[in-house]
């Protein structure tokens, strides 16, 4: 009886009607992206409390089959020798309104591009493709692993896009657009993108953020311009994503102060009710 009361007491006092359904689909990767999601700590709990129901997730929910959801966050690349992975990603597309490639393996193949098979106990598993090679993807969150803050920002903006008022929808749309454009741009990411689309286009200003964003320190600066060690590059696409000359939506970035406040507010809102 005591226990029942306790269980009753932990249930949500006010169920939030307009929560979105969120799923985390885990394919071939190192689980670093999941760790990044979890590294939002209270922010992540806040998102699950007020904004989203986690309806699918390898480690957190006991659901065997991919359900209908608003936002599917996909981590890892698809091993095309593994029938189940291929089916999973196709089903994910079918059942989700928005598919988000979480991290560089899902977006660009990343380190899994370097797989040559030969792994115990599935030596024939050798071809790993970013999910965009199999299905249409709506949003990329590049990074190896993606930063908790970017995941948080995209989560809040995706919520506003689906459930916000008109003004919030417009802001969320503008915020997400460059990440949607990255998803349209292609399924390979590499230091070469900086060479082809920034330096060769006469756009590089030698600010150095590419080197700061490189997880394997493959980028140095020669003559003030980035120089990539292609033997070190893991093809995560972070340098290109971070470059202010890959995309710079002034109308959003100039509002950095207000938007940071909105996001912080969204994650604090209702805390006093607890």
């Amino acid at each position: 009886m005591e226990l029942l009361k306790k269980v009753e007491a932990t249930k949500e006092a006010k169920p939030v009607a307009n929560k979105i359904k969120l799923g985390h689909v885990h394919l071939s990767g190192c689980t670093g992206c999941l760790v990044s999601v979890a590294d939002n700590y209270q922010g992540f709990l806040k998102i699950l409390d007020d904004y989203a129901d986690l309806v699918y997730g390898l480690t957190l929910t006991d659901v065997r089959h991919i359900p209908e959801m608003d936002v599917a966050i996909v981590e890892g690349s698809v091993c095309i020798q593994d029938r189940e992975s291929v089916e999973d990603i196709k089903e994910t597309r079918k059942k989700s309104r928005i598919v988000v490639a979480l991290g560089s393996c899902a977006s660009y193949g990343n380190i899994t591009r370097f797989s040559r098979g030969g792994q115990h106990n599935q030596p024939q598993h050798e071809s790993y493709l970013p999910i965009g090679d199999l299905i249409d993807v709506d949003v990329y969150i590049p990074g190896c692993p993606p930063s908790p803050e970017l995941i948080r920002n995209v989560a809040v903006m995706a919520y506003l896009l689906l459930e916000g008022n008109e003004e919030q929808k417009a802001l969320a749309g503008r915020y997400l657009k460059p990440l949607m454009d990255l998803a349209k741009r292609g399924t390979t990411g590499c230091f070469c993108d900086l060479m082809n689309d920034v330096i060769n286009q006469g756009l590089c200003i030698g600010c150095g953020i590419c080197a700061a964003s490189c997880p394997v320190r493959a980028i140095t600066h020669e003559f003030g311009k980035p120089q990539g060690d292609l033997n070190l590059c893991i093809k995560c696409g972070s340098c290109y994503g971070a470059c202010p000359r890959s995309f710079f939506n002034s109308d959003v970035i100039s509002e950095f102060e207000a938007i940071s406040e909105i996001i912080a507010g969204a994650l604090k809102e209702g805390e006093k009710d607890d």
């Binding site: 930063s147 803050e149 006469g202 150095g208 953020i209 700061a212 000359r245 950095f256």
Partner: protein
């Protein structure tokens, strides 16, 4: 909050000069950026600052993380050539363990920092640690070899003898340690500019917490834009503590009009460049990063 298409958003704009004699002695103009960073460091607002310090060649900047007043003072004066400062953004929070990072830089570097704040791609734990940014006015930047060509070939001075370089009044000034001043007309410097600067749509570091530069203020003074809440708080405290002499921008010559004129010139010209890029060559368009 004032919003201007050329000067960006700002709360106030003043003309100011540092009261710190040591800083003023070696300052490019009013010593604003140096004084602010030293103040922020001493007040614990930042744990360290990413600045453009002395490199291995004369006047070649080396980005580094300054952790003391002495370190920050070493970074004084404009070098007018590329310093990939933001390459230390994440490293400052890692190897240096800074929880509150200060950053000085030019307009495009502020763009990189703010983009990293809103779109922190592979910037784990960085956005929340950007504590204070001071932006510098910037018309254009040069590769190091360009500066070498301008100083050594055009101005006929050895780079190692140079005390101060300065762009202004339609000329490039090279001051040597022995007191010689050589000038190069601006039109001769244009071809040496970094091409990436020709699409930049910012002159006065619109995205910094505080931005500063000589234009608009009398010699030895700087124009200062206070742009964000963070910037305003730090500026108000620093002024209250007597770190700066200030004058209303309306009362100084040449004043905000000149800043606006130059900002308009740069931005309009670069907008045109962006348009021209769409029809570059045989209808072969070039990328527009702002699209």
């Amino acid at each position: 909050m004032i919003e201007d298409p050329y000067l960006g958003k700002y709360l106030t704009c003043v003309s100011a000069r540092s009261t710190d004699k040591e800083i003023l002695k070696k300052a490019q103009d009013g010593g604003i950026a140096t004084t602010l960073m030293v103040y922020a460091l001493e007040q614990g607002i930042i744990d360290g600052a990413i600045v453009a310090g002395k490199g291995d060649l004369p006047w070649k900047p080396r980005p580094f993380v300054a952790m003391s007043r002495e370190d920050i003072l070493k970074a004084q004066r404009a070098k007018y050539n590329i310093s990939p400062q933001i390459s230390w953004l994440k490293e400052a929070t890692r190897s240096f363990g800074l929880d509150k990072v200060g950053i000085t830089g030019v307009c495009c570097q502020m763009q990189a920092v703010r983009k990293a704040q809103l779109y922190p791609i592979n910037m784990r734990d960085v956005p929340g640690k950007i504590a204070f940014t001071v932006g510098l006015f910037c018309m254009v930047n040069f590769p190091y070899d360009s500066i070498q060509a301008l100083v050594e070939d055009h101005a006929n001075q050895s780079l190692s003898s140079v005390k101060k370089m300065e762009f202004g009044k339609g000329k490039f000034f090279v001051h040597t340690e022995r007191g010689n001043v050589t000038t190069v007309p601006l039109k001769e410097t244009h071809k040496y500019e970094q091409p990436g600067c020709h699409v930049c749509l910012d002159y006065v570091s619109n995205l910094a917490d505080i931005s500063t530069g000589s234009v608009g203020s009398p010699d030895g003074w700087s124009t200062v834009f206070i742009r964000t809440k963070v910037g305003n708080e730090i500026w108000s405290k620093a002024v209250a503590e007597g770190l700066f002499e200030t004058k209303p921008i309306e009362e100084v010559k040449p004043g905000l009009g000149l800043v606006m004129k130059l900002a308009k010139e740069k931005i309009d010209k670069n907008r045109k460049t962006l348009e021209e890029r769409r029809n570059f060559g045989v209808n072969k368009a070039l990328r527009d990063p702002y699209a």
